[in-house]
Each structure stands twice: as structure tokens, then as C-alpha cells.
Symmetry: C2
Subunit: 591 residues, 2 copies
């Protein structure tokens, strides 16, 4: 009843090489000349081994034990976590995508996304410790001074120190403009940070020597709202100019949360009591610095969903192969046993195929976005970089929200395959559901992602970026050299999303409530279109190739087209209905 | 952060009286002449009080503490459960729908369904103890001898004794035909029962003096498969002919499960070691006896979903009213505060309205099915009884599966309203999600319900019962004296389900996999049609009435029609796609 995981390396390589021809991209991009196929294959093999052998065995035990708050600001991670983190850091995984100048390995997101998938697949709670450290590094890389980078990045990449992002306060989650944490200038150029942050992942733990908090706070003269937020480095132990750790800073964990899942991850209340902090970048530009990092982080949350859905799928398949119950509709398969394997039952397959069709599309879509991230970061051509950046901005909310929504549904479907056993802790499936649920909530709830997509990314530029993307989808589908049903299905889907977008752009002009009321269903519709587009790319890559692996891809595309894609139209119709049926109620109705 | 609940008595009375005019039905049904409006109002008021004051306060603490296995077959329920069960039993709730001859109060399902809704809303885990006792009573009432009824029913109704249903074995869940538990005749006419049952809700606990197990087992000469299953009474303490408890029987709990939710409910492994059992009814008719009970039980599981979704909704509304974050799109509402209440945000309302639209439709649909159950049980006219029975058989899988699927989605939506707080245990929302998840799995998984609906209830009679029901829906919609959008929406929906049904009847003739591959989406489509039908009845009842309560019903019907019903078409299209895209994969693909 221990969860099994075999890293889907064949699927990953298919996506990386057959669908996107990454090696060609690397060869043609000077700043990625150091990336070669052989190295990447070794990286993937090694993470497949590490995640299965080291992280997976700590997944269920970590949930049983949970992170523990021992009082006096001390947090203990579950048994084995400290050693696993040390081994993970030692192997260089935290700096895999980090800048070479500071000891990183400068691997592109197209590679790190695959290691992140495996990391999240095998242990969602553990994954957050290195993941937040990577996030803090990205943020420093984007906004910190050279001195700050030199002081912190090498230690973060090596995992000697860990990182956090301290944004949320009890009264300020989505609405960061109203945070109360204050930063008062000290005589030496540093700041005294005072306030309380909540929901701080990895805010305190016993995995690293030091913890580098990146904290949003307000300067005394800061403008009101989100334009008055600054970013500070607040290390748990102060760092001397020589890079050595100095005295303990006035920041301490007050407690940790008891949560639905990711229980081995310490979610802390952090009290800053005049703690010494160092300004990152210019005053009042804290949110902008955060957003550079967020495009990476939000894709990574999508990968949490992907990883979880793969783990759920593999274990549900194993159960369905083993479990004997009833007889196959097409005739007895297992005459010497009292019943046939439930893998022969159509509805069991439907649930498994939902998860499989999702994971293949999700990985492809994440790779598509990663490709744009890499172009924007490593490319040479300013126009191509700008175009890639714009596409990242448009698609990131989908990579976060749609991937995690579909992954949660996949995990629930896979749990259902187990019948009653799916509800029992020891089988591990219910934990996957509990753990992955957070991915729809944190890093900006999926509602916030949808508002970003429809409001800031679509309505704000009058649909320019979205229409360009829909054109790209339409062109790719039209160019498909195959009579596969995905072709026409995608062209129809593109038409529907085009019409919907035009309709909502018009609505938004006269109805201030249109965006908020329609955003989530709009994201659902666009998300299915993105997946359809990915299956166009998959079919293009698999057509005319020999072997069952490729033939199965064509079958999966058909399954997606017939048994998942119709939901695009439901989302589109619901979004198109507008805000009236929602906003017509008095606020007092809701009780 | 304690969960709040105010029983929606106004909603319940609207359903009972405005929509279904239950008092008129009771007056015109001689066997229900004892049911009067005043008594029913008192019953509802009393359960509203009891559930809020006694059961709700034990909900979160019961989850924290869980049922505990103390070894040697002893199970301890959480603090307060024993006293609450005693008070519940003392108040006569367990016998509320029981037969008068044995001390029950003979209330119709139209009334008990509302008390069950409140019971499940306030404490899903507690609810299962009395609920299984009611289930065992129904089973005995349907199949036991007069002596058996006299011996057991009064004690079960009074709650002095509790009941269980022992069906599942480790290798036999859905497929009960392959159970191994044996019943060997003793010289005295009793049987020696030997075997191990799993997932036995309330198999052991400290709430009652005795526990009456109803056990499925095989006689030595039983035919293979489901036609060779007999039903036995196996009391924890043997019962002497005088009704007093005798010696301890050879049945004992071996352990309890650690589960995702309903943790205060003891889910037991039960070991029968030559335990004394008494045959109920004729040999080899055990499953038939069970099925009489199951129509009631499955509707009750739908009510678990309904109750849970109401609790989730009420608490999400309270949070959304209190939580200040961002500004309303239509202008500042709360100028003296830093932000507006999130109840003004369209997407927050969308999530809440999904839950509200679901709970109103679910209660109405459960009442519709309860009305048929009451007609079948208490009616005079044989034809009307038979018609009601047929309708119950058709709609029960929908009442179980569709209500619980929609309720789970509603609970997740309401959890999402809380943002990060929804993931934290102390707020209570994540527990509702964990608890209600079981309702999609037990009492026949929702996949099994769907197979029942499409296979046994629709294809088997060539659609006769389904087409009759669709005609009823169409007639009601056409007769609606209102220009409300639900009218045309329901007529269109009925047409779509009619076409889909015809298509699937034809497919099933040539494709043995069609039913299994399409059943769940078929149930989804029919479920949305049922809800649309309910909104036709609701609009009919609310039109031309004065006051905000009724006006809000018309608005809610519009919301449902525009923002939920489109999903019917997605389900229909996915079901209509048939089995090919599912069955084309080799079994070995799934790994």
C-alpha cells in the first residue's frame, strides 16, 4: 500500500524532443549552448532516481508526522526530511536553474520544469522547501544589487541557506496594497522591519543553517495601496560582509498552521519585531520585483498539479490492473479467477484516461510556456524576446490555474478508481487529493489567475495578445497534416473562444462586473483550447512515427477531443451569460 | 472559527408546502392521516434546535479526536458522542420514520428527509450511527419475520441498540456475488457465521448496549454469484426469547480504518468466528432484501451531500460578508474601511451561487423522490403505487450520485471562497470537503449508480421509464405560466436528453461497452435535467407570490439556467461520443 512512482521519462523526452525539438532550440541560442542532450538526459535520469528512492518514501510518513512547532520559534520537520534536503542540496538541484556567476547550473526552464514535475510528484510537501528557496533566488536575481546577489545567491543555490516569500498578512491576502508591516530606516542604511506575516511556507524549519526571508513592507512615507510596497531581505541570522553568519535577527515563527494537506511543509506565522532588513531595489517597487519571479512560480504550481496527477494516475492504474471485480462487458477475460480486472470496465478507464489525457496535455503546455520563458530569458533577438515575454504574461495564469484545477479533478478521479480503499489513509490516494488541493489556492487563487487573464491580459489590451494566440492555434491546427479529429475540433474550439472573447470585450466596456463574473469560466474555456492546441502539436509529432507509444498518443488525442473538450463549450456558454444573473442579488441574500 | 449553522427552515417549508403541497397529499392518503402540518413544523423546529445545539459543537472536535480502537474489539467514540446519541435516541429521532406497531412514529420520508438533512449538515460522522440503525430497521421491516421484528425493531427504534450493514469483504465490494463469508446451519435452526467483513460503519462503538449486525453470507449449498447470498441477523450480544440480552456472540471488531474524513465514525473490520446468526427471509434472497432498504439509503446519502453543501454555503457566506479585500467593481461600498467585503466580487458570488443553486435544487429533487417513496409505501391505489415505485427505481441513482457529486463540488467552491483560510483546519471548511467526499464512494460508488441508471433502469426496459419521465418534465415545462428563461431552457434540455437516450439505446444494442463507457456522463446529463425540472416546479410555486424570498427563487432559477445548466450539454456530448475512444486502448496501456 506504499505509493509507487516510475518517472515518465519517455513521456518527458517525447515532449521535450519530439514535440518541441528542444535540442535544436538550445543549439541555436548562444546563451544555452552549454545545454546538451546528453547532460539533460543524465539530469532527468538522476532526478527520476532521487525522487523515487529518496523523496517518495518520505511522502506518506511526512504526512503522518507533520511539521511540528516545538515552541520558542522552533520548527521540526518530519523524520528523514533533514537528510533528504541535504542530499537534494548536495546534488545541486536547488541551483539547477540558477545563474552560473553565483554557482548555479543555468539550466533552462524546459529542463527544470521536468525535474520539478518529479519533485512534486513524489513529495508535494517536501518540494516546497527547495521550491521557495528557488523562488527567493529568482526574486533576488531579478531585483537585488550585485553585492546582495554575491552575498546570498551562492548559499541559496547550495541549499546551505533556505528562502521564503513573506507577503500575506492576516487581513491582506489577495489585496497586498493594504499590508501593515512597516520598515523604518536605521542609521546604517538598513531598516527595522515590524509586523506579522501569515501562511509563510518554510518560514522556519531545521533543514538549513539560515533562512533568508524576502519581506514586503511599507516605508514610513510610502504612497497608499500597491504602489507603496517595498521588498526587503530579512535573514534569520544576520550575514556579515564576509558572508559568514552573525547574530540572530528579530524574526521568529509564532506558530504553524494545521492544514488539510502538505502537512510536512511548515506553514508559519512569522513575527518581525524590529528585525534588520535590507532594501531590495528601489523603494516602493516591491511588487514589481515579485512579479518577475511569479511567472516562474506560477508555472511551477501548475507542475505541482501535473506531478500529483501523474502519481495518482500511476497508482490508480496499478490498482485497476490488480483489482478483480465483476466481468468485462466484452466477455470474460480471466476465466480461472472469480472476476476480471477492473481495468476492463469502461468507466474505470474513463477516469484513468481523464487523468492521463490531462497529464500529457499539462506537461506539453507547461513545456510550451517554459519555451517562452527560456526565449525571453536566454534569447538574442529583442523582438522575439518581447513576443515571448508577452506570451508568458498571457498564458501564465492558465498554466497555474487550469493545470491545478484539472489536476485536482484527476486526483479525485483516480481516488475514485479505488472505491472505498481510496478513502483510507494507508492507500495514499486521499493524501494526494488533500495535498494537491492547495495548488488551487496559493500563489494567487485560481480566481485571481482568471481575473488576471481576462482583466489585465485580455481586456486591457483589447484582446490583442489573446487574438494573436488564437490565430497561432488556428494556424497550427489548419497546418496539421493529418485527418485526426483533433484538427476540426481545435478549429471549432478556436472559433468559439474567439467569439467569446469578442463578446466579453464588448461586455466589459459597458458592464464593470463582467470581468469578475465571467473570468473563471473564461479561463476554463481558454484552458481547454490550450490543451486542444497541445494535442495538435502532439498529433503532429506522433503522426507517421512507428510504434505503440506514438499510436497511443493519437488515441489519447481522440479521447481528449471527444471526452474532455466538450467542456470548453459549457464554460464558454456560462461565461457568455454575463454578470446579470450573479449581480442581481442584494448582498444580504448571501447568508 | 467555529462552524455556524442555522437550519434553512424557510427553504424546507417552501419545498414541502409551496412546491409539493405535502399537507394536501397527507390529507388525501389514509395511511398518512396522522401527519399534520403542526406536528411536522414542531418536528422540524426541534431538529433545527437539536442539530445546531448538540450535534454541531461535536463536529470539529470529533474530527480532531477520531473514533479510537482500544484493542480487544473495543472502540471508543469521541468525547460527547455517547451523550449526544443517548439524547438523540431519547428524543425519538431514530424511530421517526419507523413502523408504529413497533414503536416508530411512522413519519413519511418527505419529513424524515428534512431531519436527515439537518443531521448530516451539522455532523456527517455522527449521523452515520443513527443512520445505519435506521437502515438496518428498514431492512428488517422489509424482510424479517414478525418474531424477528418484534424482538429487534423496538430496541433499534429506541436507540438502545444500534444496527449495521455487513456487506463488503476485502475482495468483494461492488461485486458482492463473490463474498466468502459462510453460514453453516446449527442444530437449533440458527447458523454459524464465519468470515471477515470490512468497511463496516458503526461495526463497534460505545453508544448502545447492543449492536445488531445484518450480514450477507453464503449457505453451504448456495448457488454461485449474487443469487446465492443470504441475509442474517448477528447480534453482538445474543438476544433471548424474552428480548433480554444474553451472552456475547463470536463477532468482534479487529481494527478501525484511518480515513480522509468522517473520522468520528468508526469504520470497522469485523471478524465473525462461528458467530450465531439468524436467517432473515428465505435462503438466497439476501440481496433482494437489501435492495428494499437501499432506495431509502441512497436517497439519504444524497441528503448527506445536501446537508454538507448547506453548511459549507452558510459559512462561506459569513466569511464573504466579513472579509474585506479589494474594491467592488461597481464602486466603493465601504469608504470608511480599507477595502470592501468580498461579497461584492462577482466570482465570490459565482462560487456561492453554485452552492446555493445546488442545495435548493437538491432539496427539491430529494423531496420529489421522497414523495414517490411515500406514495409507494403509504398509497392506496395499486397503479399509483406501482408507478411511484418505478419512478423511485429510476431516480434513486440520480438522487444518490448527482446530489453527492454536486455537493462535493459545492463544498470545494465554498472552501475556495476562504482563500488560504479554507485550507486551514481550524476554519472547518476543509473538514466538510473531506467528510462529504465519502458520499460519492459508499453505498455503491457513483459509477455504480450511473451503471444502474443507464443499464438496469434505462436500457433494460428500452427507455420506457426514462422516456415517461422526460415526457413529464416536458409537460411541466410547457405548462409553466411564466416567461421565465427556465421554461425554454428545460424544454431544450429535455430534447437533448431524449436524443441522447435514443442514441445510447441504439448503441447499446451493438456495443457491449457502451453502457459502462457512457454511464457517468449520461447520469450527469440526466441529473442536470432533473434539476432544471425542479426549477420549473420552483418557478411555478414562486411566480405571482409577493416578497423577496420568492423573487430570489426566480433569480436563482435564472442563475441555474444560465450558469449551471450548460454543463448538461457537455455531459451529453461526452456520453454520445460512445465507447470507442475508451476501449481502443490495450489493457497494458494503463500503467
Amino acid at each position: 500500500m506504499t505509493l509507487q512512482y516510475h518517472a515518465p521519462l519517455d513521456e518527458m523526452r517525447f515532449t521535450l524532443k519530439d514535440v518541441f525539438d528542444a535540442p535544436k532550440f538550445w543549439q541555436s541560442t548562444p546563451k544555452l549552448a552549454h545545454v546538451d542532450e546528453e547532460t539533460v538526459d543524465m539530469i532527468l535520469d538522476e532526478m527520476a532516481r532521487f525522487s523515487s528512492e529518496v523523496l517518495l518514501p518520505l511522502n506518506q510518513s511526512g504526512d503522518d508526522e507533520s511539521a511540528q512547532y516545538l515552541g520558542d520559534g522552533v520548527v521540526k520537520t518530519p523524520k528523514g526530511y533533514k537528510e533528504a534536503f541535504a542530499a537534494y542540496a548536495e546534488a545541486g538541484w536547488i541551483g539547477l536553474g540558477g545563474d552560473e556567476q553565483y554557482g548555479g547550473q543555468a539550466m533552462p526552464k524546459m529542463v527544470t520544469m521536468l525535474t520539478e514535475e518529479m519533485l512534486f510528484a513524489t513529495n508535494q510537501a517536501f518540494a516546497l522547501y527547495p521550491n521557495l528557496t528557488v523562488g527567493a533566488s529568482l526574486c533576488l536575481m531579478a531585483a537585488a544589487s550585485d553585492e546582495q546577489k554575491a552575498l546570498y545567491l551562492p548559499k541559496l543555490y547550495s541549499g546551505e541557506w533556505a528562502g521564503t516569500m513573506c507577503l500575506t498578512e492576516a487581513h491582506a491576502g489577495t489585496d497586498l496594497g493594504i499590508i501593515k508591516t512597516k520598515a523604518v530606516p536605521n542609521a546604517d542604511g538598513s531598516y527595522a522591519i515590524t509586523g506579522t506575516k501569515i501562511f509563510i511556507t518554510g518560514g522556519e524549519h531545521d533543514l538549513a543553517q539560515n533562512i533568508v526571508h524576502l519581506v514586503l513592507a511599507k516605508l514610513p512615507d510610502a504612497p497608499a495601496g500597491s504602489k507603496g510596497i517595498s521588498l526587503f531581505i530579512v535573514p534569520k541570522f544576520l550575514v556579515n560582509a564576509d558572508g559568514l553568519m552573525g547574530e540572530r535577527n528579530a524574526v521568529q515563527a509564532g506558530s504553524i498552521e494545521h492544514k488539510m494537506g502538505i502537512k510536512a511543509s511548515a506553514t508559519c506565522v512569522m513575527n518581525f519585531d524590529g528585525a534588520t532588513g535590507y532594501l531590495v531595489g528601489e523603494p516602493n517597487t516591491g511588487l514589481a520585483a515579485m512579479f518577475v519571479m511569479m511567472n516562474y512560480e506560477r508555472v511551477t504550481m501548475g507542475l505541482q498539479g501535473l506531478g500529483a496527477s501523474v502519481l495518482a494516475y500511476q497508482n490508480a492504474c496499478a490498482y485497476a490492473q490488480d483489482r478483480l471485480q465483476g466481468r468485462a462487458d466484452t466477455g470474460v477475460k480471466n476465466a480461472d479467477k472469480v472476476a476480471d480486472s477492473i481495468i476492463h470496465h469502461g468507466d474505470v478507464r474513463r477516469m484513468l484516461l481523464n487523468a492521463k489525457a490531462n497529464s500529457v496535455a499539462a506537461r506539453t503546455f507547461a513545456m510550451y510556456v517554459a519555451r517562452q520563458l527560456d526565449e525571453a530569458k536566454f534569447g538574442e533577438n529583442p523582438e522575439a524576446k518581447a513576443a515571448a515575454h508577452a506570451k508568458v504574461a498571457l498564458l501564465t495564469p492558465i498554466a497555474k490555474a487550469f493545470l491545478t484545477d484539472r489536476a485536482f479533478a484527476a486526483a479525485v478521479d483516480c481516488q475514485q478508481v479505488f472505491g472505498g480503499h481510496g478513502y483510507i489513509k494507508e492507500w495514499g490516494m486521499e493524501q494526494i487529493v488533500r495535498d494537491v488541493r492547495i495548488s488551487q489556492i496559493y500563489e494567487g487563487t485560481n480566481s485571481i489567475q482568471a481575473l488576471d487573464l481576462l482583466g489585465r491580459k485580455t481586456v486591457k489590451d483589447n484582446g490583442a495578445a489573446m487574438f494573436a494566440f488564437i490565430d497561432e492555434v488556428r494556424t497550427a491546427a489548419a497546418a496539421l497534416q493529418s485527418e485526426h479529429s483533433i484538427k476540426e475540433a481545435t478549429l471549432n474550439a478556436a472559433k468559439r473562444v474567439q467569439d467569446l472573447t469578442e463578446h466579453l470585450l464588448a461586455s466589459a466596456k459597458s458592464d464593470p462586473s463582467a470581468i469578475n463574473a465571467c473570468a473563471v469560466d473564461y479561463l476554463g474555456a481558454v484552458g481547454y483550447l490550450c490543451y486542444a492546441y497541445m494535442y495538435v502539436l502532439i498529433v503532429a509529432a506522433a503522426t507517421d512515427k512507428t510504434g505503440e507509444f506514438y499510436a497511443d498518443k493519437l488515441k489519447l488525442a481522440q479521447y481528449f477531443s471527444e471526452r474532455n473538450l466538450p467542456q470548453l463549450y459549457a464554460h464558454a456558454d456560462m461565461a457568455q451569460a454575463g454578470s446579470k444573473s450573479i449581480m442581481q442579488f442584494d448582498a444580504g441574500f448571501f447568508q
